[in-house]
Symmetry: C3
Subunit: 147 residues, 3 copies
């Protein structure tokens, strides 16, 4: 009994220490079509939380957003999903999303694609009309996941 | 003594398990005046943190922002407060706010309303000039609360 | 042995209580050149997380952004660093940054300054073209740090 207790207490005692010692984990994806080094990670894991960088839907051949908006939205959501999963999270762990969009008339088109990446329970989300985005993008997404 | 220790250790031992098992809690308010289903929750609770979706100040009769800007700011802050409290938090738990605003000349008007929703200690806040917002809104707020 | 266990269990037992009791800590810097009281804190600490308010690079003599863009970026990053360190964090603790920028042509100029404030491992970051920013600013940064 005492032995079990000791093991239990020992296990528990390591928890705060692990938390204190665990640094952040930086996720940096390959960036096809982009030649300059960019000063950000694609995501950072800290504890049970994942901070997802502003993500664009880019054509890997050009490093620019494709002409077709629905294709861009799909590339974007695929990129978000890839980052989330590479970090060891799932899309169901995503709790907060900010969508920046250069044209609010694309709201329904974007939503149609966006919805297919989640189950029935959806992250909190803001949808903001941005003036401009990098690389010819119509959409940029930033988010937070917690597991 | 051993019994007390066992109870204590047992209680402690359940903590990590509870954390691992506790899923997110999704807050979805009624959306008067809005006929389409929208792909987001109004807030998500995870652990002791609340992620508040981009919130607008809408006239429930129309689903659009009212013509009068101060009324819109009040509807908006009422909507944020309602969501925060529905999730079991208070406005004093809000730690971070982002205000997106289509016209920076509305800064003082907005601040006048905003201030009345908080005590003496105020959340960190960004105030960003957005190009456009949905539903004729002049303001959209996104935030995080921690209790 | 039992005594050690008791001490250990006692220490562990206090952890949840400490977490529950720790309120938020509000960081409010002096705001040279700004005469009106502004309704936000410059940062809020909650637990091991720091929420950094939207920060501008302002000339302390005028309370406005300087004419020269690189100088503005440096004032901005200095202001962020000051807030982060005042809160007891370091720039290496920063996990997420959102940059709002009124002119995407300033991307490289901004990045050149930005990079010098971090080590080899960089925060997740979004870079958004805003319509306008307060006080003549070209850049506004919001962020989250975790230690």
């Amino acid at each position: 009994m005492l032995t079990r207790l000791l093991i239990l207490a020992g296990l528990i005692a390591t928890l705060p220490a692990m938390a204190a010692e665990s640094g952040h984990k930086y996720i940096v994806n390959e960036r096809p079509g982009i030649t300059t080094p960019l000063p950000f990670s694609d995501a950072v894991v800290t504890g049970n939380t994942l901070y997802i960088a502003g993500t664009l839907g880019l054509d890997p051949a050009t490093g620019q957003a494709p002409a077709e908006v629905k294709a861009e939205a799909q590339l974007l959501m695929d990129a978000v999903k890839k980052t989330v999963e590479k970090a060891g999270f799932t899309m169901n762990d995503v709790v907060s999303i900010t969508v920046f969009c250069t044209d609010l008339k694309l709201y329904d088109t974007f939503n149609g694609v966006y919805r297919t990446y989640f189950g029935t329970q959806l992250p909190a989300r803001a949808f903001i009309g941005a003036a401009t985005l990098l690389r010819g993008a119509h959409f940029e997404i930033q988010g937070i996941a917690v597991r």
